[in-house]
């Protein structure tokens, strides 16, 4: 009940803390307010010693969909991008065995999906190379994932760099919640993987966990059914420890991964992150986070080596009717991108270091018992584009405990990447040394609430005013990337959930989107398709979750995506099904089928570079002690 509203609003995960506090109304403090909550919402009320007010995600003035651990488990998906299909406000399109184009509110394509900020436990994972995400690099232990917050719309004021059209925040469970031994394995006709985890305690000091995953992703198909031979395999390992000493809470976590791919590609990387949080004097909390991340992608046509160092801090203060968050961050990235000698396309200079600093301040003001205003301003300074001001103002009105109306205006930018500025092809493409930031001003409004008992509904509307979008330009007979496209995007994201019976929940989501872009002086019309992405006019999903008994689960899903225009790809209707049997405490078996209607179907990219997604079936096993 109400699973898509009022989900957890924890302080876990540095970034999450920021979002929740900044986006919330923070008013449900009285027992009367708790009365309006469902059982799930009650479990998500934040009872921290600092925030004497409950902070509920259901009160956030933004389009937020939360994928819970239970929902992810019941989807039958084995990878992060597949789990992201559960979010009705995302467009997830698979390009081949390794690559996905994932976006919110448009610009979906492998090249143009660079407008999303993706964070895993506070660590940014979009690649500074081209702004998109290498989804094959993001292996997380799904069984230890707590939730994924998918925010469509610019989170510029809080998140800064790259949160142009949305933010995906993947949050793992604290170590204390992942104790003992767990084995999560799946094997089927396409994919196979096994994750083993062990969690323990350091006495009174805290808890830890370590895990290792081995995975294999099967190949995709050509349209005639022939195999593309793009299967790949990998291995990933990580740890997390949460310690507390007095009022200090310290988290240390890290991962290492190594994959083998198409044509001897070797991709490896690792990261280490430390976070410290501490409340002071009953109304102030300080949080500091720092991480170091290295990725080495050796593929057939290129080598990319990226080192990132990031440090952020924030201070949260609550007094009278204000929840004030102030923070600063610094990130420096060194990216070395090499192509074989004689390649047509190369990056010059091949190695570049850029940094982004930001300062932000955000205030949630309880104007009245039923009205909150959220005001935020971020100043971002990047090596490439100098300073940018990213303001955001939002209002949330709660006429009754069951309904929330919200509205807001925000500005966000996408700072140029290594490829934007330095991509070169002698005689063909000049580097765009003056390429600047893309800009969006987003006007949004929405409703979230429980119109009837046992059902929840969320409606979000948006109108995006784009400027300085990237497109290929022709000037003096030379081709170059330029900020020569602008226009509008608008749409609606609607989702809801109804508990038809105590054992049967039905969920539905619809996503409509439109774009109208205009080219400016010098822009090359032929390049429009590549840069505007390939977006479906609508997407629909319907999901049914049934607890047939204490031990049996049956989950069904239907997904429909509209036709794409350029390249033309017909829309598809697919079904997923999963049946699970909990044999005993800590032992569960499942059988999942995905993409059941078609043997294989295409989702994005031109025929020459895409692989079709196959019908797959797999057996799952989860054992825990």
């Amino acid at each position: 009940m109400a699973a898509t509203t009022g989900r957890r609003s924890r302080f876990a995960g540095g970034g999450a803390l920021c979002l929740i506090l900044a986006a919330s109304e923070a008013r449900a403090q009285s027992v009367e307010d708790l009365r309006a909550l469902s059982l799930e919402d009650l479990g998500n009320v934040q009872v921290t010693s600092v925030a004497k007010r409950a902070i509920l995600l259901s009160e956030a003035p933004a389009a937020i969909y939360v994928i819970t651990a239970d929902e992810a488990r019941r989807s039958g998906a084995v990878s992060l991008p597949e789990i992201l299909r559960l979010a009705p406000n995302l467009t997830v399109a698979r390009q081949d065995a390794q690559n996905y184009a994932i976006s919110a509110r448009g610009f979906n394509s492998y090249q143009a999906s660079n407008k999303l900020l993706v964070l895993i436990d506070g660590r940014s994972v979009y690649t500074p190379l081209h702004g998109g995400v290498f989804w094959d690099q993001q292996q997380i232990a799904l069984a230890d994932m707590d939730r994924i917050e998918v925010i469509s719309g610019p989170g510029g004021a809080l998140w800064g760099a790259n949160a142009f059209n949305g933010v995906i925040n993947v949050i793992s469970k604290p170590a204390a919640q992942t104790q003992g031994f767990l084995l999560d394995a799946a094997a089927g006709n396409v994919d196979a993987q096994a994750m083993a985890r062990y969690g323990g305690e350091f006495g009174e000091l805290g808890a830890f966990r370590i895990h290792a995953t081995a995975l294999r992703r099967g190949e995709t198909r050509f349209s005639d059914g022939a195999g593309r031979d793009d299967a790949w395999s990998g291995f990933e390992t990580g740890f997390r420890t949460d310690l507390s000493s007095g009022a200090n809470a310290i988290t240390l976590q890290g991962d290492y991964f190594r994959h083998k791919g198409l044509l001897d590609a070797k991709i490896a990387g690792g990261n280490i992150l430390a976070r410290w949080k501490r409340p002071f004097s009953g109304f102030l909390t300080a949080e500091v986070q720092t991480y170091y991340d290295v990725i080495d992608r050796n593929e057939f046509f290129s080598n990319d080596y990226i080192e990132t160092f990031d440090a952020d801090g924030k201070l949260i203060a609550e007094f009278r009717s204000h929840t004030l968050v102030a923070g600063a961050g610094y990130r420096t990235v060194t990216d070395r991108f090499e192509t074989p000698a004689g390649s047509l396309f190369f990056v010059d200079p091949s190695e570049d270091t850029f940094s982004i600093s930001n300062f932000f301040i955000h205030d949630d003001i309880a104007v009245r018992d039923d009205l909150t205003a959220s005001v935020g301003l971020k100043y971002e300074y990047s090596t490439f584009t100098g300073g940018q001001w990213l303001p955001s103002i939002r209002v949330a009105w709660r006429p009754t405990t069951r309904h929330l109306l919200w509205s807001g205006v925000s500005r966000a930018v996408r700072t140029p990447t290594h490829i934007d500025r330095n991509l070169n092809a002698t005689g063909l493409l000049d580097p765009a040394k003056n390429f600047g930031a893309e800009e969006v001003v987003a006007y949004e409004a929405g409703y979230r609430g429980r119109p009837v008992d046992n059902a929840s509904l969320s409606v979000s509307l948006y109108f995006n005013d784009y400027d300085d979008l990237r497109i290929l330009t022709l000037a003096d007979g030379r081709l170059r990337f330029g900020n020569a496209m602008r226009g509008y995007g608008y749409g609606a994201e609607i989702w809801g959930e109804a508990e038809l019976r105590p054992w049967w929940t039905l969920k539905a989501g619809v996503n409509f989107m439109e774009k109208r872009l205009t080219l400016e002086q010098g822009a090359l019309p032929a390049a429009l398709d590549q840069h505007q992405g390939n977006d479906p006019d609508f997407q629909i999903q319907l999901r049914s979750q049934m607890n047939l008994s204490d031990r049996w689960e049956l989950d069904l899903a239907l997904r429909a995506v509209d036709d794409l225009e350029n390249p033309a790809i017909s829309g598809y209707l697919e079904a997923d099904a999963r049946v699970a049997w909990r044999l005993a405490d800590g032992l569960a078996l499942s059988l999942s089928g995905r993409n059941l209607f078609d043997a294989h179907h295409p989702e994005t990219a031109p025929a020459a570079s895409r692989g079709e997604v196959r019908r797959s079936v797999h057996l799952g096993l989860r054992v825990s002690k």
Partner: protein
Amino acid sequence: MAAQGLAHSAEPPPDLATAVKATYLYKLPPFVKWPDGAAQREENFRLCVGGRDPFGAVLETAVYGQSIEGREITISRLAIVTGDAACDLLFAAGSPEQPVSQMLAAVAGLPVLTVTDDLQQSKARGVIHFVRIEDNIRFHVNLDSARENRLTISSKLLSLAVEIVDASAVAQDVQRREMDEP
């Protein structure tokens, strides 16, 4: 309005964690099935707090105007819990006079939904056991205790529990295997 009343009273505002637990006490029962013909099936739903009451007035405020399946909720505070306490739900807080484990033993086998809390720092666990995980109040479900008290826990509640204790399923398996062995 009552919130303002509470703010003006001499009592400090309730600790949010306590308020959440008090709210759980009337939100959980609809997901539990008591055995048919249970003697306690009277007009009112009897919610008992045994031992050192951690709630105080917040419990009355929380259940004000609430009903469980049409039955009005009455709150009883018991210093000592006995077998004829006739409670539908018992929050076993324990006391120096009667520790939590004894309170649970007193109603074992009776159709009582027993609830315990991590804060009591007792090894004894009721059918529902509140735990604080980071900043949230969640709960464990003990299916063995539930069966002992002839209660059926809905799968919805089970899906929300952070931990389910169900030793008997494994025990039955072990028993079966031992019987198969020559």
